[in-house]
Symmetry: C2
Subunit: 280 residues, 2 copies
C-alpha cells in the first residue's frame, strides 16, 4: 500500500518498498518557551527557520503546529504554511486539535497534505474526516477513542479499524490513512514498549496500512533519552513504522541505518552520502 | 527454552524470559597485533586484563580465543582459562577451530562451559559434538556446512536442524545449543541484514532454540561502524538473539536499552543503575 503526499513541487511516497520518510516534528511550540513566545508575537521567521533546518537535515515532510497557548491557530496556520511553502519544497502535515485551524491551513495549501490527526472519538471523526475528504488530504489516525488509549494491541487495532471504516464511508481509502499506534513511557510501565510493538505488528498484519509514530514518549522520565528513543525508533521501523514523526537533526542517521539494514539502500549510497556530508 | 552455562561460582541462564546475556568477544587476537604478539610471547596478563575489563563493563560470559597465528592453542587455552578463572567469576566460552584446544580448555574448566563452535560440516560435527557431550558443555552452532553459508533463511534453518539433530543423537538437547544465523556485510549485498533477520525469525519459530550472533560483520567496509552495529544488534535482539557475542565496553548500553524496550527491565532498574555508574 502506498500513501502519496505532495506539495506543489514535491511528491513523497510512503510505503513498505520505499525508504522511511521523516515527518519533521520541530515546528511545534509544545515545551519550547522561546518558540511559543515568537509565535504569539507573530514572529513567524522562527517557523521558517525550523523548516529550512529540518529539510537540510533530511526531513521528507514537515509537521506544522502553531498551537502556542493563547494563539489564534486558525489565523496563524495559513500564515505559517505560506511562509514555509515559500522557503522549502517538501509537503506539509497540518497539526492541530482545532478543525478550524486545520481547515484554514488546508485552504491555502497547494498539494495533497497530511492532517495530524483524527482519533476514534466521535467528535474527532465527525470534525476531521470531512475536512480530509473535502481537501483530498491524507490523515494520521491515533489509536485512542472516547474511552482513552486501549491497554491492549487488540483494543488499539479496533480503534484503527473504526477510523479506516469511517474514513472509507467518506471516500478516504486506507492508503490515505497513517495509523499511529501510540507510545506511553516505559518508566511507568515496563511493558509499554512491547505493547506498542505488538500493536504495530497486529495493525500491519490485519490492515496493511502505512504507519507513523512519535518515539520520544517512550523515554519520558529516564536519563539519556536520545539513546532510548533512537533504539525504539529502530525497532519500530523494523516492525513497520514507515513515516515516523521525529527530529531529523537528531534521528536522520538512525533512520538511514535502519533502512540500510532493512535492504532499502542499494550499495549503501544514501547512508554513505549522508555520512560524507556530515563529516565535512 | 533455557540454556544454562556456569562457572564454579556463577550460573548464567539464557532464555527469552531473561535479560540479554553478553558473551564478551575481546579475548581474541584476530586483527589485534599487540594482543597477538603478547599471547605468542606467553604474556597472558593481556588475557586476564581483558577479562577483568569486560566483566566490569557488563559481560555475562567470556569468549576465550587464543588463536594467534603460530600459537600452540592446545597449550595456551588451559593456561588462559586458569588465569581468567582466578581473576573473574563469569562462565567461559572456549573458542577455537582446533578440537584439541577446546578439549584442553574444557579439561581444566570447573563448570558447564560453552563451546564456540560447531557447524554443519561433517568434520566439525564429528570432532566437536563428542567433546560437548563428554564435558556436558553447551555449544554454539553456526549456520554453515560443507557447501558454505546458505544464501537463504531456509537453507540456514536446514543447517541448524542438522546440528540439533546430530547433537541429539549424542544426548545434547536443543537447550544446550545456541544457533548463530551468521551475518555477512550489507555493503556487499544490501539484503544481507534482512537475510540474517529472516533466519533469526525462522529458527526461533521452527526450533525455538536460543541464539547468538556477532553483529559487527554487518558493517564491514562502511563508515561509522559502531552505529550500524548497535542498530543491527537492537534489531537482532528484538527478533530473538538472546546471547550476542559482542564488546561490552561498547555495546552494553545498547543491550540494556533493548531489554528496557522489550519489557525485561522492571522499573528500568538495570538501565538506570548502569547509567548512574557510568556518569560518575
Amino acid at each position: 500500500m502506498e500513501t502519496i503526499i505532495s506539495s506543489a513541487k514535491q511528491t513523497v511516497v510512503i510505503g513498505p518498498d520505499h525508504p522511511t520518510r521523516i515527518i519533521g516534528e520541530r515546528i511545534n511550540p509544545t515545551g519550547r518557551k522561546k518558540f511559543a513566545a515568537a509565535i504569539l508575537e507573530g514572529k513567524l521567521e522562527v517557523v521558517r527557520d525550523e523548516a529550512i533546518a529540518q529539510v537540510e537535515a533530511g526531513a521528507d515532510i514537515l509537521d506544522v503546529n502553531v498551537g502556542a497557548a493563547g494563539a489564534d491557530e486558525a489565523a496563524l496556520m495559513p500564515e505559517a504554511a505560506k511562509l514555509i511553502m515559500a522557503a522549502v519544497d517538501v509537503p506539509l502535515c497540518f497539526d492541530s486539535p482545532n478543525p478550524k485551524a486545520l481547515g484554514a491551513g488546508l485552504a491555502v495549501y497547494g498539494g495533497k497534505a497530511l492532517i495530524n490527526s483524527v482519533n476514534g472519538e466521535e467528535k474527532s471523526l465527525d470534525a476531521v474526516l470531512p475536512l480530509a475528504a473535502a481537501h483530498k488530504a491524507a490523515v494520521i489516525g491515533l489509536c485512542m477513542d472516547d474511552d482513552g488509549i486501549p491497554g491492549t494491541a487488540e483494543g488499539r487495532l479496533r480503534v484503527a479499524e473504526k477510523i479506516v471504516e469511517r474514513a472509507g464511508k467518506l471516500g478516504i481509502g486506507p492508503e490515505d490513512i497513517l495509523i499511529d499506534p501510540l507510545v506511553l513511557t516505559v518508566s511507568a510501565d515496563s511493558k509499554a514498549g512491547l505493547l506498542t510493538m505488538e500493536t504495530i505488528r497486529l495493525i500491519k498484519a490485519k490492515l496493511g496500512v502505512n504507519m507513523t509514530m512519535g518515539a520520544s514518549n517512550i523515554s519520558f522520565g529516564l536519563p539519556n533519552r536520545p539513546v532510548i528513543n533512537a533504539n525504539f525508533l529502530t525497532m519500530a521501523i523494523l516492525l513497520g513504522i514507515n513515516a515516523p514523526i521525529s527530529n531529523p537533526l537528531k534521528e536522520k542517521e538512525t533512520v538511514l541505518v535502519a533502512d540500510l539494514l532493512l535492504g532499502r539502500d542499494e550499495f549503501a549510497m544514501n547512508y554513505i552520502t549522508y555520512f560524507r556530508a556530515h563529516q565535512a
